[in-house]
Symmetry: C2
Subunit: 499 residues, 2 copies
């Protein structure tokens, strides 16, 4: 009889994946539900991850010529009406502001008063309100391109919410650009998709498939939507960032026009692209295990935690001093062009409890330091990406010399592991039967890569709760038979169940 290993998170992934996800969030103290319907509170550890995401993305946006700006939270109702598809997509779930004051209701409570002539909605996305401003900023070809990004909160009145993955309010960045030509706007759309893919793979250590959305999955009002799709550990897809080529749709709706070099009035070509706090959900579901959060070092608020271990007051001072010295030496090191983030956890707390605290928070490296380590001038190191009990002793100097390399190794390992998982569960599906098997109740699931001729096969796949994730940018060279129609086609589509 083998004894079942004990894990910090209950249930485990295998037992109940959705509940495991929530328990990882709770155990790492990343976020919690708030009494405001569908809105979460992002707690310091979760928000610190977001800050690192922001810093990296912001640097990349600026390096590609974008500037940050800020536009109003509220959108006049009639703006939304200007773009027909856009309103279809967003009117169904939005927060509507109708009043501007509160007054006593005579029963000790308050009621709204000061009704607005025209209601406002809280931005679900800002194409409309930014479109209005762009139409003022842009007069001549000399004013183009306009390359803007906004860091903001947005709101969509979601019915079923899940922390980080789908919340009524969420944080994001939204890029909005206007260009003189179609080619330039399309190049921008793809450039920003690349920025997202680079961020996902090389920072969040999440392998992604880049592709085009099928018409049914496009952003409301877009000519074309590009996406990066990641595979979670339950083999479901998570759309992790999107970049939209809006053609001249919004330019026409909002009058974004310019005089070209020949003095002719033309509509601009616009794009928009966004990445959200959902990326934290992707991070959790890609790397974490049954002991809690696992963080890729490049996004970890803390790289190395030093845990002093002592039995009595006499040892205590010696151990704490040794730890502080070590911490100071680490502070002078860099990883990924930034200072290594390390700290000593000197709280009075049971050693095991303290160690589990940081395991559950996903800190990449833990160092346990007791009197015997000091005697040997060594550290007892545990890596979060390895088994809980796989610890090893290094001399202090060895560790300091290797710290950055170790972090880099962890970063790479996490990516490779996730990549392997993705490859293991990406199936080339040749027939509809195979497809049906894959996505049946007891099917293996994963991503199905299929030849697919029609633009939309919604009617066929919807009952299985499967969606077309994307038409990958990298396509096979050879044609094949469409699994839905039998037609010969070169177009391959990735299908999956998705968040």
């Amino acid at each position: 009889m083998s004894s079942k290993p004990i894990h910090a998170i209950s249930p485990t992934r295998e037992e109940n994946y959705p509940e495991w996800y929530l328990q990882v969030i709770a155990a790492a103290d990343l976020a919690e539900n708030s009494p405001v319907r569908g809105c979460m509170v992002i707690k310091p550890w979760g928000y610190a991850i977001w800050e690192h995401m922001q810093a990296i993305l912001d640097t990349k946006f600026k390096a590609t010529g974008h500037e940050n700006a800020y536009f109003p939270l509220l959108i006049p109702l009639h703006y939304l009406e200007k773009e027909a598809q856009h309103v279809e997509g967003f009117a169904k779930e939005c927060a509507v502001v109708t009043h501007t004051r509160l007054e006593s209701d005579g029963k000790g409570g308050l009621r709204p008063c000061g009704e607005l002539e025209e209601p406002y909605i809280i931005r679900p996305t800002s194409e409309t309100v930014i479109g209005v401003q762009f139409s003022k900023w842009i007069q001549s070809y000399r004013d183009l391109p306009v390359l803007i990004n906004q860091w903001a909160n947005v709101m969509r009145w979601e019915m079923r919410t899940r922390m980080f993955l789908r919340t009524s309010e969420f944080l994001w960045q939204e890029g909005h650009t206007a260009h003189a030509t179609r080619d330039e706007a399309e190049a921008e759309t793809k450039q920003m998709l690349n920025v997202y893919a680079d961020f996902a793979e090389n920072y969040a250590a999440i392998p992604v498939i880049q592709g085009e959305k099928t018409p049914a999955e496009r952003f409301p009002g877009a000519v074309n939507t590009y996406t990066i799709e990641a595979m979670m550990q339950d083999k479901k897809a998570l759309q992790s960032g999107t970049s939209h080529f809006l053609g001249q749709n919004f330019a026409q709706s909002f009058g974004i026009q310019y005089l070209d070099k020949e003095g002719k009035q033309e509509y601009a070509w616009t794009t928009s692209w966004g990445m959200t706090t959902r990326m934290i959900g992707a991070l959790i579901m890609t790397h974490s295990d049954d002991d809690g959060l696992v963080l890729p070092p490049k996004l970890a608020p803390l790289h190395i935690v030093i845990l002093p271990i002592y039995r009595d007051e006499q040892d205590k001072e010696k151990v704490l001093n040794y730890c502080q010295d070590l911490n100071q030496r680490l502070a002078s090191l860099t990883f990924n062009h930034e200072k290594i983030r390390s700290k000593v956890d000197a709280r009075e707390m049971n050693g095991g409890e303290k160690s589990w605290h940081w395991i559950k928070k996903g800190v990449p490296i833990r160092l346990e330091i007791g009197p015997r380590d000091i005697e040997k001038n060594s550290v007892f190191m545990a890596r979060r990406d390895l088994g809980i009990k796989e610890k090893r002793t290094l001399t202090c100097d060895e560790f300091i010399n290797q710290a950055a390399t170790l972090l880099d190794e962890i970063q790479t390992q996490l990516f490779n592991k996730a990549k392997q998982f993705q490859q293991d569960h990406l199936h080339s599906v040749k027939t509809l039967d195979e497809f049906n098997d894959l996505f049946s109740e007891h099917g293996r699931g994963g991503f199905a890569l299929c030849y697919c001729a029609p633009d939309d096969v919604e009617d066929i796949i919807k009952p299985m709760k499967v969606t077309a994730r994307c038409v990958p940018l990298v396509q096979a060279n050879d044609p094949g038979l469409c699994i839905f129609t039998g037609q010969t086609t070169t177009r391959q589509v990735v299908f999956a169940k998705a968040y």
Copy 2:
């Protein structure tokens, strides 16, 4: 007959100060009004200033032990009702969300539907919604202190708005902390006031008076509000940052309780403190002149702009190369622990027009480089804090060696000039007559420092549109006679007209 000097901004400060302010904003392209009532659009140059403010403040908050987090935008109506004074202060001007969907109105338009059982208001400030979470986070003295900051947008339905100074939506940070003892909470309140004063004086180059608000000017729900008050060039006061000691008011309203070491249930002591995009308004009105914006180097998005000047294509390449080389050499320098921010403006544009472009944007140093400067290996330098025509030639090496020192000198000069202005217009007022003269229609205005015994003298000063700005933390040692009551008192109060 002397010819009137020509200025870039019309009207000048003397001609029409409020309109001058708006024209400086327009000329520097900092922000613009939006079609959304009372909401502005912060344009890239304005937002870049805010980003520098954020980076500096955020570092200071973290250095004093605070962590960032994020709380919901929406506040359930009944939260507001829990703190009696708080609701008084904020219910009169708030955006109320009453519906969650839009539907066709049958006339081609949309109308709200999906009415909420309980309306939400868009946060005017977050004491209530954060208080609810704190009551969950805090159980024992071991959980204290809780030191949180939030970067967010907030909304107050202002009737009369002015860009940056008073807008319906604005950006800010709000600190919220909870402590075990009154002393600790009071120390926190004052610590954060000091952080604001340090930021205002040593970064924004704005001299401020630190003080306590009188009861009438307190934050709704606070036991005590501390403020930093700055003097604008029209001698009016601008409240530039506030720090509130909330006592146990919010802890009682929201049940923020903890078990102390003796196992006794106690209410926590809380604080809150905020600084907003209003600080950009303060920056404009403190330093700018009749030629436009003047930026203190520590907050300038660009420290040095290099303007190539050439007549023909032959010169062009040589001049541009020289400028790019210079720019690269500058890129390796640091000012105030950050890389010097410089760029070459190579746009095809009339030289005078280009120069004025950057004058109006307030860039601290402009370098004009033409063929003759290259021959002499020199730069022709203009400082934004000096007269427009006060330019001087330095050798390239001289400039590079001095660049950081020059920026530092400009920073100091701006502060000293503003400090002198503040001192020149801070009047020790001994009698009510003097007070009335000072604030009469043709009075000199400025700040009146008066002995004042009563807590509130609202009835007397309100008709003059004067308010008590603060009771300065630094008080005179000797008592004097209250100008309102004739009583002997040691309490001095600063009065002024204010934004």
